[in-house]
């Protein structure tokens, strides 16, 4: 049992360190315009990576694409482009994903 407590402690420490380092390194630093541009583009890269990584599901140790997520994502993208409102687009996307799953 005590190994569990040690594990929890070590995970807490390493995770916290990974969170504070980036902030401490960059805070108050005058960033060059290129670095500023870089961080301006980071969200787009990360967001699309996070979305795409969740399109894949592993089933019976094989990688498959989740169609409810693909369709839900496309519907959301289209809805937010047209309506420009956040929450309704998320709801429409989830509902259409659910419909695809249950049809």
């Amino acid at each position: 049992m005590w190994t569990n407590w040690i594990l929890i402690g070590l995970l807490a420490i390493t995770t916290y360190i990974s969170r504070i380092i980036g902030i401490e390194v960059m805070k108050g630093r005058k960033t060059s315009s290129t670095l500023r541009l870089y961080f301006n583009y980071v969200p787009a890269g990360i967001l699309s990576a996070l979305v795409v990584s969740q399109l894949f599901i592993s089933k019976d140790s094989q990688i498959q694409i989740s169609f409810p997520i693909v369709i839900g994502g496309l519907v959301t993208a289209l809805t937010i482009k047209i309506s420009k409102s956040f929450l309704p687009s998320v709801i429409v996307g989830i509902v259409s994903g659910l419909l695809i799953r249950n049809l």
Binding site: V25, P43, A49, F86
Partner: protein
Amino acid sequence: MNMTIRTIRTGISEALPLAIAIAAYGLSYGVLGIQAGFGLVGTVLMSLLVFSGSVQMVTVAMITGGAGILSILVTATLLNLRNLLYGAALAEGIAPAKRWRWLLSFGVSDEPFVLGISRFKKYGPDPIYFATVAGTFYIAWVSSSLIGAIIGNQIIDPQKWGLDLAFPITFVALLVPNLTEKPIITTALTGAVITVILTVLFPGTPLNILVAGVLAPLVGIYLKEKNKNVD
């Protein structure tokens, strides 16, 4: 003061859809934590102290599979590497919090990063917004872990309710409005392509998102600089 209250209200309403999905994930973690033998206190304590869905899920899965502490720590460190990038990108937006940044940095992970960075891009640095969002997720995560650990196997199926769709779909809704100019669109496409390639070549690697996040913006910068020279 009014401004602060308005910020907090905005933060809670924008965090809520994701908080519900996080809670569904937290319920499953709670159940798995008990099954992995962490006990009620250990399962909840891990949520209180670590506050990381991916790290905690991988930990309980690896413990159940009989892995040792060292291999779990190495995997957790790989998973955590992307926090370095998140922290660096969020630094300017959190910096006005001064010493409170030590507490705020505890909230640096996927979802608070995504909401925080979109807010900072629109309205500039805003530690109160970040604190609200991260705090909402923290409450959702810890309380749902506790409930999951108590109710054990009596769990609703998140898939049935479409809660597994909430993360990718919210992220799509946050990403799409930003795709206004070529370099950003190219960055997003590059991120997507890198992730597909890495997922096919090395399925399940925790480094996929970090690699995409580090490399994709370089393509965006290249395009931007090239266009500038043409002008």
